[in-house]
Symmetry: C2
Subunit: 206 residues, 2 copies
Amino acid sequence: MIKLYYAAHTCSLASHIALEDAGAEYSTVRISFAAEEQRKPEYLAINPKARVPALVTDNGILTETPAMLVFIAQSFPQARLAPFEDPFFFAEMQAFNSYLCSTLHVAHAHRMRGTRWADDASAIAAMQRKVPDSVAACYRLIEDRMLRGPWVMGESYTVCDPYLFTIAQWLEGDGVDPAKFPKVIAHRQRMSERAAVKKAIAEELA
Amino acid sequence: MIKLYYAAHTCSLASHIALEDAGAEYSTVRISFAAEEQRKPEYLAINPKARVPALVTDNGILTETPAMLVFIAQSFPQARLAPFEDPFFFAEMQAFNSYLCSTLHVAHAHRMRGTRWADDASAIAAMQRKVPDSVAACYRLIEDRMLRGPWVMGESYTVCDPYLFTIAQWLEGDGVDPAKFPKVIAHRQRMSERAAVKKAIAEELA
């Protein structure tokens, strides 16, 4: 059976929602960042990157949200969470998730995880000051060019949706004005009403 | 016909090599970063992110290297560049590419692209100072945990290989000691001997 290692308020929520969307049988293990459990030997044996999420499967362990989301979609084809039969549409979906992972999430991470990229306090503070602008620039592209509506890829709900929803939880905390991104906020609201989303969030915050 | 927009010495080389590996018919357009062509209206109409690569296909335009690499593999199945029929192996391949894109490439980018994440010169200098350590930490994981040999995923050559090869071009420039990563360097050498790699590089540097 699939086991998801997650931490509350992190990008692991995307995979958690996707497992619900897929109708998967799975269990979860909560990792406490406050207790630095992600750096303890027990967890490093699961994921030497010291990050969440990690997905333990019958075949081995997976990490990296874009890869995990597609794995979940491919493992539960009846849920129709990714269009494998259409290479271009599938690539557009993957491009969206890759942008979230490597540009938007990275811009956001400069608020709380600056020590990944600089050591001195003034540099870390300078990174934090730029987060509202750099994160907003990502949402500008998503709002104007990427998010088709009602779902990210248009009429088809895909694994892009839980991923955008998850990252959009951090928008106000990053100092971005939600009023400037009405499509993103409407998508976040639409997602929040889904039973799968409510169930995953309730479990993570229990 | 497929058209690749690339810039020399960037991650677009990965897709260029993959197109050669696939035996694709394609054309290329060189974007000069020195002339800031990536920010000109003509290119922003292709890719509003003002980055390379971009791939113009019969169905539309794709960006984001991990998505483009899988699209190339899926469009030319006879080249067997990705194991679509094995969801777990495919996910491991995607996880590797996602790590290159969102962690290793991002660590590297703090050397030359610090203005993405901070405005003041001292912060940008602080980011540059950390690049040798943050990039080396990524290669430590790749060397010890990810790169199976002879190819990234083991006996099967996949689209992970041109991507790692491309990013490993920057290793010495990032201040990382190649002697500490013999598997990565052997892979880079092995790749450099392939005809597809030689052809793509020769075209980009012509």
